[in-house]
Symmetry: C2
Subunit: 456 residues, 2 copies
């Protein structure tokens, strides 16, 4: 095992920087994987990390580019800020076009425009081409450095081409895409095929023509699903004329999966869906991101207070009814969140196929009934024991807990299904919208039961 | 694009089954990827899917094995139930040892033991070997079919070996691992290296000796992180003597990432962490999975009712105080969940490095202050407008909302940090534990403020 423990390097590097031992520091950095340098930067103070980046730029500009492409775009931008446009373009020219496009997107708009101009002048117009595709599409995230050969070439031609192309620069070559004279994607073969077949075999004879590709407009989530489902290492990307224009490799797909999962989780908690924004947006924009969900909760809360004020008379007569509002709302909220999370997640992982969602709703109801009876009897019993003089209170509170938990499981498990049918991302159904509706329903049920049992 | 729309195949397949057109049905299935057959099965009714599986078994036993390995273990088991042990072993022999081990784990214990015996008799003792490693370790999930060659062999020997090994069976060969005479892992080379170097070159001269490997005991989450961080396509697995014993490929890693994300999400919602269990456990065990979280919420709720009963006098004098319990708890719960989700997720994705968690806690507090003031003034104003005769009520309610939202952000963002420091999975901190403590704190603050402002 040769894994690098980044934390153990922080202090030695700091000491070297403080002593001004640039060569030693550069030496230490040159032994690390670019991903590890990127992690190391995040452990340093701002001035130190800028010093390290400047050192990398001076010693190995190509390396600095690699490190940038391992950073989050917002972090990468922080190392570019304040540098002249020309230098930024020179640095980004060392980054792969797909990562460069991501970083350019994170730059202030005016800087981005000037940097793109500079990149184009240097012959790196692919960055601008990528930005022409919509965000979160295959076109936007693909690598344009794809290794493709014409169908009439032979195995030995292909090996020569691999040798002279300096394939080290190409992103992970393991499939060889085959194109016709108009650049249309017509087949695929593996490096293993090249190894095992006679040198004079034509690619056309050896390739599999059942090549699965995605379009530049395909959503990145769909790309990720295809790769995950069929265990591909890469997918070729074609334009609307079926011309091969790029490739998406499995390492990009892992990033997409992580990103999409994070979006789902943030959406479930009611904080927008863009982690980058949530962690870096300035105060006001950050507050704005969470506002819609809280506004929904606020409106629900005001509605709940109106319902309660309707029962003012009952509350004055038996003030202890108020004591159990938090437990009825709280238990309902938790059961509802459990149910909706299970359904939302089951839909996302595919473990809950569309045909079985209704069965799952029924399962959630039965679980809620069991748990509701348990906690309802427990609560009713406790309340009765503490207030034996008003037995109706215990019965009301216990029954209200059962009913509110069942209502919660119903709303929680049905809401994602309903939302999906309306084409809305079901992930929003686990957050404030569900808990707030459950609060309102729970209180209504509680006081309806009280008015039946206590104030007949 | 040659993607299969599974849903469009359900009805035609059904019709063929109903007509008893076995050959046609087998034909239709043989054109699909095993992953698609697996998805197709999930769209069928139970009896239909069993019919399809029996058809596969009869026509192409190897294919039936492939399909099983694409299914969730619990689903795979449902197709094996009721068959004699010998037949189960015969079917599992067609599944890769890693997937077979997963399926055996899901079998009832007595059946599993008998099937393992049968597998061993057939020379498939790897399945039992894999089960000797702890769950969620590299040893448990690795594929034992790893392509490795001795260092003294040449490039042309290697190509011959690839040809004769029937490499189609090996899981995605793209790295060639190099071992010494005792089976120790000493290096790695890529297929591209083989293509580009002279046939007489010894592997020893061509291989990179900086090969990163994991141990059989390495946690699967760590394996996934390594692959994701360094963009590997596969990682070799060695035993405690550094002997090469298996390989974990990137497609397994994608499954691990999905699984770990699901665990986190379920933990965040307070429903255990095993999706398989949550979706398939019988009623009682399912209820038991959720019990601990709900018990915590129940205890918190009872505590809240005790606090409220302490303020019984105040409540009787001004019953309208009770109207705002739901909104104060609800807004607090939502703000707390937002804060804890952001911190938990930031820790998991690495976008929130350990050194910055405290900064993030302060950010959350500031956002909560802004949002608290906004919604507090809005609520206070509304309440004042509706009850101008008791101005203290509006002020109390508005102020209590601000305070409870700030408390919620503090608890929500600090709790994950504290839990992690105690070695507990921070994902627990977004669920019922946080919302319940926030309920209790919020109510305490509300009535403390009321007793200061209204009942001086």
């Amino acid at each position: 095992m040769h894994r690098t423990r980044i934390r153990t390097l922080v202090d030695p590097l700091r000491r070297l920087l403080r002593r001004g031992a640039r060569t030693h520091a550069a030496n230490l950095l040159s032994k690390l994987h670019a991903a590890d340098v990127a992690r190391l930067l995040s452990h340093l103070a701002e001035d130190e990390s800028e010093q390290v980046f400047a050192l990398l730029l001076a010693e190995e500009p190509g390396r600095a580019g690699e490190v940038l492409s391992e950073l989050e775009p917002a972090a990468a931008v922080s190392y570019l800020e304040g540098r002249p446009d020309e230098e930024v373009a020179r640095i980004l020219a060392e980054v792969g076009p797909d990562d460069a496009a991501e970083i350019v997107t994170a730059l202030p708009e005016d800087v981005a425009a000037r940097v793109l101009d500079q990149l184009e002048r240097r012959g790196h117009e692919q960055v601008e081409d990528l930005l022409g595709y919509a965000e979160e599409t295959a076109g936007r995230i693909m690598s344009t450095e794809v290794f493709a050969l014409r169908e009439e070439l032979t195995v030995s031609d292909a090996i020569d081409a691999l040798r002279t192309s300096g394939a080290e620069d190409l992103e992970m070559v393991f499939y060889l895409y085959v194109i016709d004279e108009r650049g249309h994607l017509v087949g695929v073969c593996s490096l293993r095929d090249l190894l095992l077949r006679a040198p004079s075999t034509e690619l056309e004879k050896l390739m599999s023509s059942r090549v699965i590709s995605v379009n530049v407009d395909t959503d990145q989530e769909e790309v990720a699903q295809l790769v995950a489902r069929y265990n591909y290492l890469a997918l070729p990307v074609v334009d609307h004329q079926n011309k091969l224009v790029g490739i998406i490799t499995v390492d990009d797909v892992i990033d997409i999966i992580r990103e999409e999962e994070t979006e789902d989780i943030l959406l479930m908690a009611g904080v927008g869906e863009d982690e980058e924004k949530v962690l870096t947006a300035p105060l006001w924009r950050n507050a704005l991101l969470r506002l819609p969900w809280l506004l929904a909760a606020w409106i629900g809360g005001v509605l709940a207070s109106q319902i309660l004020s309707h029962y003012q008379g009952m509350l004055s007569e038996m003030v202890s009814l108020a004591f159990f509002i938090p437990i009825i709302n709280g238990m309902g909220g938790n059961v509802g969140t459990q149910a909706s999370t299970i359904v939302v997640r089951g839909m996302a992982t595919g473990r809950l196929p569309a045909g079985q969602t209704f069965t799952q709703v029924l399962r959630e109801l039965r679980v809620a009934l069991v748990l509701g009876l348990l906690f309802g009897v427990l609560l009713g019993g406790t309340v009765y024991f503490l207030n034996p003089s008003i037995p109706e209170l215990g019965i009301t509170v216990g029954l209200a807990l059962v009913v509110s938990m069942i209502l919660a499981a119903t709303v929680g498990s049905l809401m994602p299904v309903v939302l999906r049918n309306f084409g809305v991302d079901p992930a929003i159904a686990t957050g404030p919208f569900v808990t707030t509706s459950i609060d309102v329903l729970g209180i209504t049920a509680y006081f309806a039961i009280a008015s039946l049992l206590v104030f007949r």
